[in-house]
């Protein structure tokens, strides 16, 4: 089949194999990149790839494929696609699928499956991947016939992106890929099988919410990931500015409201600034926008924001009253709900509330490691803050999980949505490097920095080869402290400093990078940070910097897990110094 025939008569049914239908559908759905790894049960689909315009990115591990699809989706707002074979190929995707599920990221994973005649017989490389992924997908499909491929894939894309986005898996048996059928794009369109009631708030409910906002003296907006997913940034800004409401952000909400905005308080929760959590605890009205009151955000539920009424605007009905009871739940798309709510909100000023908040900042600036003079030690916070300054806050930062992730959240100030990509809900180490690759495919013009710990980097560093093979220009900053830092911090705080399993030996990352043909730098002094960042930034290709930071620094402030939100461990003053091994 040539391209001309395909596009001259696009809607005429044609005889195609299931494998060809997969690529045909992906092309028609506007998919540019598929992140995948071949194998026996998906071979017919790879064979049909040779006739497709879709660009296939060969990964080094299927987990990487799912994280790349996820990073692509988060950076672009479009559906990311990962492809793998049956059995181990499919099970390797599980972590990436669960990551996307927890963080509402729209990805479609296509897996090959053994032939339908041997399903359930423990055939070579057979695994029940649809059974395994039921709890970690929005939906999944076992496709055993070629004529089911089109409808399943089209519906999968629709489900992945609809409402609260998430992952969908399509498992296609080998015979379904090989056999042929008449394919008709239009006939494969997803059909409504149920009347979906949209729980759109009534006028009365909107009035209730507006009344609470208009009466409130100490309101706080809790800004979550839903703002970015719904594209409601402008509406949130108008709400905050109209009624003079402080905005606290969740980790995944960072970028949803400009960091430089006068009403921005900063990040809330376990490693949020003390005054942010204080404001939440003192508030008389929480306006929760597209967030789910995760335990890392609330601390102990019994003592969480006891003085506050709660308005919860959320598209997922199952999130309402899950952790925190809402006085006024408004279920629906955040942007649409806010557009209806905004005309009911009166202009207001809360100067008393603001002075109370400013007062609660107290000595925070003194404790901020950023304001300490250079004492010869290199702190991760310095690296992140310099990265923010040098990139003028304009880069797309993709982080892994742990201390560096929290320092990134504290010291890189995000102005725009989709400029921070991080694994929040599942906390998946090894996420950063592959997700960064996916983000770069989605935003080729953006400066993409992978900020990753020495532990998480070693989980998926095989994808360095993908970077080189695909000639992808991502920059990598390893925050290397020789420990699994966040776990070490917990051991220091809560296990009397018994560092079991946390001291971490790493290879020479500079030599490792060079082995892949990626230039590497090592940095040990604060004064070297900015020159090294700019060397990497202005190199026309990928680069890696190994930042040897203070080994036993901790992330402050910290609300211990399950503790009251206002009970924070603060950075000691003056700073406790420890000798490094260097």
């Amino acid at each position: 089949m040539n391209d001309k025939a395909r596009f001259d008569a696009p809607d005429a049914p044609r005889k195609m194999t299931g494998a060809e239908i997969i690529w045909e559908c992906l092309e028609r759905l506007g998919v540019e990149y598929v992140f995948g790894y071949p194998g026996g049960a998906i071979l017919p689909t790879y064979d049909a790839l040779t006739k497709s315009r879709v660009h296939h990115v060969l990964v080094r591990h299927e987990q990487g494929a799912t994280h790349m699809a996820d990073g692509y989706a988060r950076a672009s707002g479009r559906v990311g696609v990962a492809l793998a074979t049956s059995g181990p190929g499919a099970t390797n995707m599980v972590t990436g699928i669960a990551t996307a599920m927890m963080d509402s990221s729209p990805i479609v994973c296509i897996t090959g499956q053994v032939g339908s005649s041997v399903l359930g017989s423990d055939a070579f490389q057979e695994v029940d991947i649809t059974g395994i992924t039921i709890p970690i997908t929005k939906h999944n499909y076992l496709v055993t016939r070629a004529d089911e491929v089109g409808p399943s894939l089209r519906e999968a894309f629709e489900i992945a992106a609809a409402d609260r986005p998430g992952p969908v898996l399509v498992d296609v048996t080998k015979d379904a890929q090989l056999s042929t059928c008449e394919f008709d794009w239009d006939a494969a369109a997803p059909r409504a099988h149920r009347q979906v009631p949209v729980f759109f708030p009534s006028a009365a409910e909107l009035n209730d919410a507006a009344a609470l906002i208009n009466e409130s003296r100490r309101p706080v907006i809790l800004a979550g990931h839903g703002i970015i997913l719904s594209g409601a940034g402008e509406e949130v800004r108008r709400l905050a500015e109209t009624a003079d409401i402080p905005v606290a952000l969740t980790l995944l909400g960072l970028g949803a409201f400009p960091a430089s905005h006068a009403l921005n308080l900063g990040m809330m929760g376990m490693h949020g600034e003390a005054w942010v959590n204080q404001a939440i605890q003192e508030s008389d009205l929480l306006i929760a926008l597209g967030m789910r009151f995760d335990d890392r955000v609330t601390g102990k539920l019994n003592t969480y924001a006891q003085k506050a009424r709660k308005i919860h605007i959320e598209i997922d009905r199952a999130e309402i009253n899950k952790n925190v009871k809402a006085d006024v739940p408004l279920i629906g798309d955040l942007r649409e709900v806010l557009q209806r709510l905004l005309p009911l909100v009166n202009p207001n000023r809360h100067s008393e509330w603001w002075s109370q908040i400013h007062l609660s900042k107290k000595d925070s600036a003194v404790r901020d490691i950023q304001n300490l003079p250079d004492n010869g030690h290199l702190y991760a916070a310095h690296v992140i803050n310099d990265l923010w300054r040098e990139t003028k806050g304009d880069a797309v930062i993709v982080t892994d999980v742990g201390q560096h992730q929290m320092w990134e959240a504290q010291y890189y100030h995000h102005e725009k949505p989709r400029s921070l990509i991080t694994s929040g809900g599942l906390g998946t180490m090894g996420f950063a490097l592959p997700a960064g690759i996916g983000a770069k495919f989605a935003r080729p013009d953006a400066e993409v920095w992978v900020v990753v710990g020495d532990g998480g980097f070693q989980m998926t560093m095989a994808e360095l080869a993908t970077i080189v093979q695909e000639k992808i220009n991502v920059k990598i900053a390893i925050i290397n402290n020789g420990y699994l830092g966040m776990v070490r911090q917990w051991q220091e705080f809560f296990y009397e400093g018994r560092y079991a399993g946390t001291p971490l030996l790493s290879p020479d990352f500079v030599k490792l990078a060079e082995a892949y043909g990626i230039p590497g730098l090592m940095v040990t002094q604060r004064s070297q940070v900015i020159p090294s960042l700019n060397t990497a930034r202005f190199h026309a290709g990928p680069a890696l910097i190994d930042f040897r930071v203070e080994q036993e620094d901790s992330v402050y402030p910290m609300v211990p897990a399950g503790a009251d939100l206002h009970a924070m461990i603060r950075r000691p003053t003056p700073l406790v110094e420890r000798p490094t091994d260097e």
Partner: protein, 200 residues
């Protein structure tokens, strides 16, 4: 989370497709909730099955399970009918030891409970009883001293009393799944939501 547990009954309409039962059961399993009884059968409409699920869980848990069942793509509707007026029935077959000496008394119980004898053998008989759970419990209690050999129960089926039904509204014609409905119907669905707030 300590919540007062109570028997909750869910009526769920689903597409009759492989794996749907697994998806629904999984929502209970992952939260550690036990399913007391679960019945599935065809409905008056082709390719649509109806489930009645009974589980002893707290009010907040019931709300969460209901909301999560609804998120499943193959689910057409779900309703927690615990607070509605309903007719609930289940059926039991009870094989009980019966000698010449005891058979007469057993038949007397069967008559009182409006049950039926569906098999009679020299040393046993099988009793069929249909009714609400407590009626079946009561019969089992009086039969126990005679020696229950074997028992099988169907689990509950439940239907709302009166004209109100649990039947899902089906899309008309070629409505797309994403089509939005607003107006009184949507807000009344939301009112149900507000009646059952989580008790966290």
């Amino acid at each position: 989370m300590s919540e007062r547990e109570k028997t909750h009954t869910f009526v769920v309409y689903v597409e009759n497709k492989p794996g749907v039962l697994n998806r629904i059961a999984s929502l209970f399993r992952r939260r550690g909730y036990n399913i007391e009884s679960l019945t599935v059968g065809h409905t008056e409409r082709p390719n649509i099955s109806r489930m009645t699920i009974v589980s002893s869980i707290g009010e907040g848990a019931a709300h969460r399970v209901e909301a999560n069942i609804y998120k499943l793509v193959n689910v057409l509707s779900v309703e927690d009918v615990t607070h509605a007026t309903t007719i609930a029935r289940s059926l039991a077959l009870i094989k009980v030891e019966a000698s010449e000496a005891t058979r007469h008394r057993l038949l007397e119980f069967v008559r009182v409970f409006r049950a039926r004898v569906v098999d009679l053998a020299p040393r046993s008989l099988i009793i069929e009883i249909t009714g609400a759970e407590d009626k079946i419990h009561a019969l089992v209690d009086v039969l126990r001293p005679f020696g229950i050999v074997e028992m099988v129960r169907t689990g509950q089926v439940v239907m709302r009393r009166g004209a109100q039904d649990s039947v899902p509204k089906m899309p008309e014609g070629d409505d797309r799944q994403n089509e939005r409905k607003t107006g009184p119907e949507a807000s009344s669905a939301h009112a149900i939501e507000a009646e059952h707030p989580g008790s966290v």
